[in-house]
Symmetry: C2
Subunit: 216 residues, 2 copies
DNA sequence: GAGAAAAATCTGCACAGTGTCAAAAATACT
DNA sequence: AGTATTTTTGACACTGTGCAGATTTTTCTC
């Protein structure tokens, strides 16, 4: 029963190995090509080549092309999660500042890794692995947000207006809005400003100095 | 320049031809296999075979497998649209009845052509042709709904609470809810009941006799 | 530390599916 | 019949994926 040590879909062990370098190289190559060629132009052969291995070898590290994408999404999303937690735990304990930082960081993530984020949203419905990675990230962000919301005074108990429900709705709204901005070539900054506005309103925080571009 | 008479992605003329029979046969075969085999198991070869032609010939009628799906979505959605318009123009001029019929008919469509509808939702983000067909249907339904909403007394003028905005939101909500019910194996009837409730509330129509299963 | 055993990594090829195309066959038109 | 148009075919190129081993790296033993 050595199958216990195997990862689903691959023949590789889960144990720590140096081949993790290759894994990272594969993900790097994938992200780069996702940017330049798009999700379709990016082929297993070109990824493998850029990572210095053959097509077949890539399937040693990942069970499929989609699993590569899923891992890429997971990696990108882990960064965002870490930044959010750090910002939340950091000096910025005032709910308003935490929210501003959260929205800003999310927007920055979309700016720097827009293609990955966009791919995650688009492939979620059809690729279970991606859906899982993405959904777990959203849930984690929603949870962090819930903490802020409670500190801002939202009720904790179960109910349609409790901190958890509002936080979830806000996070999904943000996903949707930034995705739309990315796809339609709209301004991420404007979207972020709008989002922050709604966030503050939803949590009942008086809008102090929001993002730039105040108007009307 | 005879290309003007050509359809994008195919070599076939747009002009009326008898080969439309084959086209329908292809779509029928596709829908059947979509039900039995799923979107992945369904291959161009099997569709062509079921339609009595070879793989290559299929590409004479449709530019790609996705175009077949897109045409299937368009056909299915055209049916729903026609039914909605008929029901709206019909005897049921009372907004409440029109809404009930609309929701019921949409739910029935999901019951009878669930696989096609589901495929439309899932492939919309990645297949432009499908996205276009689906989106246009949603817009059309939203417009019909807007008419009902205005008759129900919602303001027509532009604004975040006007009939058009509310109608669009309701239609998208319905899409989402019925999709979720289909995917998660939930009850379409229950979903429809909930939806009708929200619809009536949103349009300010007193809930007379809603669908079965009243509670609380 | 040499050498064997085991594990990790990689290669090369096979196979099925999609999409393209030039040329053949069927059909319609005059 | 003769010609133009529609429809079909068959072969080809490319992609994703599976797999049987070959090769390299690590681990263990003496």
């Amino acid at each position: 029963m050595e199958d216990d040590r195997r990862e689903a879909g691959t023949r590789r062990r889960v144990a720590p190995t140096k081949g993790d370098l290759r894994e990272r190289a594969i993900l790097d190559a994938a992200e780069q090509q996702l940017d330049s060629e798009g999700a379709d132009g990016m082929t297993v052969a070109t990824i493998a080549q850029a990572a210095g291995i053959t097509r077949g070898a890539l399937y040693f590290y990942f069970g499929s092309k989609n699993e590569v994408l899923a891992a890429l999404v997971a990696r990108t999303v882990a960064t965002l999660r870490a930044e959010m937690d750090a910002a939340d735990a950091d000096g910025a304990s005032a709910p308003g500042d935490a929210l501003r930082q959260g929205v800003e960081q999310t927007a920055r993530m979309w700016r720097e890794h827009g293609t990955v984020m966009r791919t995650a949203v688009e492939l979620s419905p059809t690729v279970p692995a991606i859906d899982q990675a993405w959904r777990s990230a959203v849930v984690a962000l929603a949870d962090t947000t819930r903490g802020i919301a409670e500190r801002a005074g939202l009720p904790a108990g179960p109910g349609p207006h409790d901190a958890a429900a509002v936080a979830a709705a806000l996070v999904w709204m943000t996903e949707r809005a930034l995705y739309q901005a990315t796809v339609s070539g709209g301004s991420l900054d404007e979207a972020a400003a709008t989002l922050l506005h709604v966030w503050l309103a939803a949590l009942g925080i008086p809008a102090g100095a929001e993002l730039g571009g105040a108007e009307g």
